[in-house]
Symmetry: D3
Subunit: 303 residues, 6 copies
């Protein structure tokens, strides 16, 4: 079997040798912008939009990646091409960008580096096993005890790798259920986001999700809203609170790997009748139709 190749700052190398200095600002400061794009049938989904968002994150982080968005897009496509042989036709992959500020310099200015940005691009098989069972059973959404980092500290729309707050929130909520999927609230108690996804409810036929004032402007979130518009399902970007999840007819998460993850329990209570909901199914179906891949089947085939 051919080993996957990783791109690091201009070089391609086997995945097993993909290493960076422990003095890189990625390690020293969690100082890394990131994007995760997935393929459907080996074709990257909304790659240009992901690269565009990456450049927004880089801009706000004041990191110069050493190339422009068009070049980044081409490099990314090259990385994908170089790796496609590693995936069977039925298998899809992530394409991950991790771009750090470069080699860190100890001292008074953390934005100074001893090198240009470290650009890491790699692919990985779309491993859906930890979510695939939820397409039919629905997952258990659980609220964290801790709260999301507020935008005036660090805007959630800057997609980055300083994720400790999210990791610890996950550790907390998995005390309730080791398979729980997290619902992180902001410091005002409003629903913010999942560690790597967005949260939707369906109530009285309306699809609702928080505005991006307190969460990542997810690509899958945008896709779900587009599909809903196509299907004639009214949508609303608003404030959601735990009460909305507890009393919703349907709840689901969106994220790049699983696209749409139905939720049938929230903090130990059934969502709706405890079954995967009809709007959720229609949206997932429409998504599969749009990308030409049966998303649910692809996931379940991994189980």
């Amino acid at each position: 079997m051919v080993e996957r190749k990783v791109y690091i700052s201009g070089e391609m190398m086997p995945e097993s040798q993909a290493r960076i200095s422990i003095f890189d600002s990625a390690v020293m400061l969690g100082d890394t912008a990131t994007e995760s794009t997935r393929t459907f049938g080996h074709i990257p989904f909304k790659l240009a939009e992901h690269v565009d968002r990456l450049f927004k994150s880089l801009k706000v982080m004041r990191i110069d990646p050493g190339c422009d968005a068009a070049q980044m897009l081409r490099i990314t496509q090259d990385v994908l091409k170089a790796n496609l042989q590693c995936y069977t036709p039925d298998q899809d992959c992530w394409i991950v960008h991790n771009i750090s500020r470069g080699l860190s310099i100890a001292g008074s200015d953390p934005t100074k580096t001893a090198s240009g940005a470290t650009v890491m691009i790699f692919t990985q098989p779309m491993d859906l096993r930890s979510w695939a069972g939820f397409y039919t059973s629905g997952c258990h959404a659980v609220t964290a005890m801790s709260r999301a980092v507020p935008a005036q500290s660090l805007d959630a729309r800057i997609k980055n790798r300083s994720r400790l707050a999210y990791t610890l929130a996950e550790a907390e909520l998995k005390l309730v259920d080791p398979a729980a999927q997290g619902v992180i609230l902001d410091i005002y108690g409003n629903v913010s986001e999942n560690k790597g996804g967005n949260i939707f409810v369906v109530s009285d036929g309306v699809l609702k999700t928080p505005t991006t004032a307190n969460c990542l402007a997810g690509m899958s979130r945008a896709t779900a809203l587009e599909l809903a518009a196509d299907l004639g399902i009214p949508t609303e970007e608003t404030i959601l609170q735990p009460y909305d999840l507890a009393t919703a007819d349907e709840v689901f998460f969106t994220s790049t790997p699983y696209c749409i993850m139905p939720t049938t329990r929230f903090n130990g209570m059934d969502v709706g009748d405890g079954q995967v909901g009809g709007v959720t199914k229609r949206l997932l179906g429409a998504w599969s139709a749009r990308v030409g891949v049966d998303i649910q089947k692809q996931g379940e085939d991994q189980l």
Copy 2:
């Protein structure tokens, strides 16, 4: 010249080869506990206390480092011993611990890893050039526009490497003065901390610093308070606000590398009479006496 050696999870290796997988949770999630200890005359200062705090961070981060505190202390001393030949008698060094959760697994649980913790320990020459000039001129302290991450999102006492919020705050405040030292406020507008240090004022003879409810419980902060007690200077842990810095008689920062950094300007205004203050000098002098190294001279000799 002999190359410095780095310890990574049981192995010693030359610094130039100290690399970790780009899939390590340090890179993927900024998921790293850390400590920075310095030596005075080649003797580590409060190393046991640093290791103790490291184990508090690891506990709250739910990371098992694979050894207990006593073992970590011994390993650390071994790393130092193996590197002391790289430092001249006049030269001191940092000893840095970076301990990540280990190899990251893509999926729904960020606390699961494909390996044990990655334990990185290294030394580096105490490079004081970006601060040393401030011992006589005082630095310019500047408030960031963004606010510190609140404790209910991520407690500042967990010394960690998910530092993006701090790095971006520094980038903002350095718009005012590229040599500015940062004063980060919490979301209520109270003084929190510097990206890597604590903040003190002297007003009417009393030495004041924020409580640790919104900042790192710094080792240098504790040392400054101990020295003040020794010198009979009354101290108070309290709420400080920008007004307190602007109207103080003296202001200084504390941090491991520089110990005490006098501050003579705050947001463009002189602090006191614009000169390094007497209490600041006494504390720095007492610190030098305690550790048997003329801290100011050591720094200034690098200029």
Copy 3:
């Protein structure tokens, strides 16, 4: 066996007949001030202080109980006396005051009633079975997802029966562990209180508990502080955050029924070495000595 007697607004009646109108403001509006005192060896503990605090609650609630504190004390002692025959010498009891505003009137003014206050006073056997096991094993303290009602909405020092926020917080945290004891945070993420008790940590030999700015000024809290002073243990009323509990040497709760409840786990992590701590034991011992009852034994004898 003789049936216990309940006092309701001037009348004594058998407990089984102690009923109030469903139109009472206690039912209609949760509009009830309350106190719970316990006996040690059939002698009420700090009864005068409890009655004093009851009158503070009544004052702030603008309820006139129809008698003054001295009369209330006498009535309470009469109720106890009338019931003591129901308790064996080894058995102690609660004395509970519930005082509502009286019969509610539908309309625009909820402070108007169709009767004087409804004064309910009763005793109940001190049933310690749900806590007694914790004297030796320690309990598991768990943080709620929801937050305490802030003082600017309803001051926690008004001891009252509008407890829904607390009950729902308990339901949440018991998802983690059905035997969990709750640690409710305030809206700023600081430790507030338990649904019916206060929270203490011991760190580096100092006994710490939140100030009463965000929690009930508990009688047992005050007793623990008094006993610590007697034992020469330094104490501090301060801000506590989850980090403080996770990294403390000891944690315990105080409340009227169990006095001191050792805590050996916090959010799934061991507190200290996972054993009941020495300061905790000394305080519980001193409490037993003060009241002449072996508190731990009395509880454990019920198991």
Copy 4:
């Protein structure tokens, strides 16, 4: 005259004998979900919607009422039928549901009970005397000093009987004017709700009311919005602040008993020209038309 009958957990009894144990969680913990529906011409208004909301409250409160919504609806209709003889044709009534968790158990878990839920259903004459004068004069709306309980403590959409915060806020604002109707702000200073109703303004022809992120999703609120839509009056759910009330052309409250209560003064200032406004009148007229009862006349006939 026939006495009204009350339903308590399966039994019908005369109102004068409708009592519950003082150990019921309604009394001990204010642990009661509630709804208040009114009749127009002896026909309950939106009863199914009220029962639906009741079941949302029960779900979030994790109370099992022992029957489903359809059964509850039938029981409620039976209770009404059994009482209609007590009302003259011109007289309407409330139908109130109070459902507590059941008999309370002292101990560590307030969600455990010694019985099933206590289901209380009763009717009462629609006593409008404390509001009826406001249909022509308008009421005086006054802001409370205290703030509404925030949703992260207890969501206002859970219609419940732990109302002490509201009662005390009313006591405060009635210091300004004993006939004042309350405008409770949330902790951010935005208009939340009245103790038992919602708040609307009319500005430049647009009818505005707060979103339900910080207030009860009132049935009368929904009705007012529906009627406005029917009348072609544009509506907006938004943030309102005291400035909006002070400078509005019209202000009114909505609630089940009075439907729409015009407001002509706010914190001592005239609203608009100090007269009941035209939009307010049209909405009240449309409501009367919809239900076939002259709401204003019915109220004023009680004076």
Copy 5:
């Protein structure tokens, strides 16, 4: 040259003699409602709307100006007429209203005065020199360190002369760039307003600006929204955060003197491509067309 005339409480006087007592509440308490209207081609723009807003401010400030809005409008037109000879045909002017409560009385009630309101109305040449260069280069928008006064302290829609918080915020942000234009955030970190204007972004073709829940309901803001509607540009009143400005395609300010001020840098980062944007130009052009004055040229002619 004829001297400009100022109206003070019924009298016209030469500008050089326009003085008020140092005991006026304007001086003693900053207790002044204000409006600034400008002329285009000597015709006041939206004067009636400005006077209407002035009366809203006066109402909420509980100041009786001694006349009604229609009278105020007439007096204002008289003041303008009396001064028009002082302006060349190409020159426009401000018309400023400053209305204080009157002569202050030391004592316990600051709302009591020893005289009626002090009504000051004056015109001044429209001096655009400090902004005119920005029509082609764009200005540099910079975030203040301090935060806007929240509405629950003082609603920003009350246009008043207690401006110290804004002045000090300006002093802070001008540390970054002496020509910077301020972006003041509210205490939640959301974009509020400029010291004297509102803030807009254009993102993906949509024109966005904060709702008036945390900023002045600017007349120029309203005009920009009207013009956008005329031009078919979609608009949204929403929450904006620094991320939105940093990643916008265009940013601009609106205010009475300059109407629309393009912004090409934000906190040191280019906005879009660093050039004045197309939507910004179209709106400014439409404004010029509407008022029959080439606004940009008028400003630039002053340079």
Copy 6:
């Protein structure tokens, strides 16, 4: 009778002619630092401390008054001397400093002026009539609906004349009682300050007042704390909430004119037994002794 003289920027003039330009930043922007000192027996009390605080305010406001503190002190004494003939031996006076930034310039930078600072210094007879009755009856303290401006918007310790928020809060609370004295809460619901004074409670023998983190560091506040220390009364600077005032044994205000104002009602409830308290009386007595003036008598003689 000789007319009082006012000092304005170097000139002495009769009070009746003391006027400033309506373009002064005092009028245009409320941009004025201030101090109010009073005399006892014609001797100014703590004048040097007042001038020192004035210079702190000026520094943070970045206003250069054109002289240093020592010169300001001398000028102030000259102003007093020039006016003493206007006061009888029994009569005392205020000495007020109002220092504005100078003549305002319309444009983008409010910190630029067309002149140096405007320095206003005047004396006024100590008119105590609006407070003097409270020495024996106690005043009625009432909470405002609005909240104090938070320190991150404008620090309360900057003693300034942008007072609109305070004036409007007073207008609100005087709706409860036209003679009410205001208790302004901060945005967290904690007691902040009175419009021109500080607030104290006595509970269980301890004198408590808020820390200066959310209120003016009042000179009279400091004096009360000094006198308490002299009398052996324990003091605490802490968080106070409305509950503390409602349940205190004694409450009083401190401010320059009245020194100590007993409070016997709070939000309509009696404080303690509704009589002026013993600690309050002792402190007022000690103050009179310290300054050699019977403060209470001096006030009451004006009635």
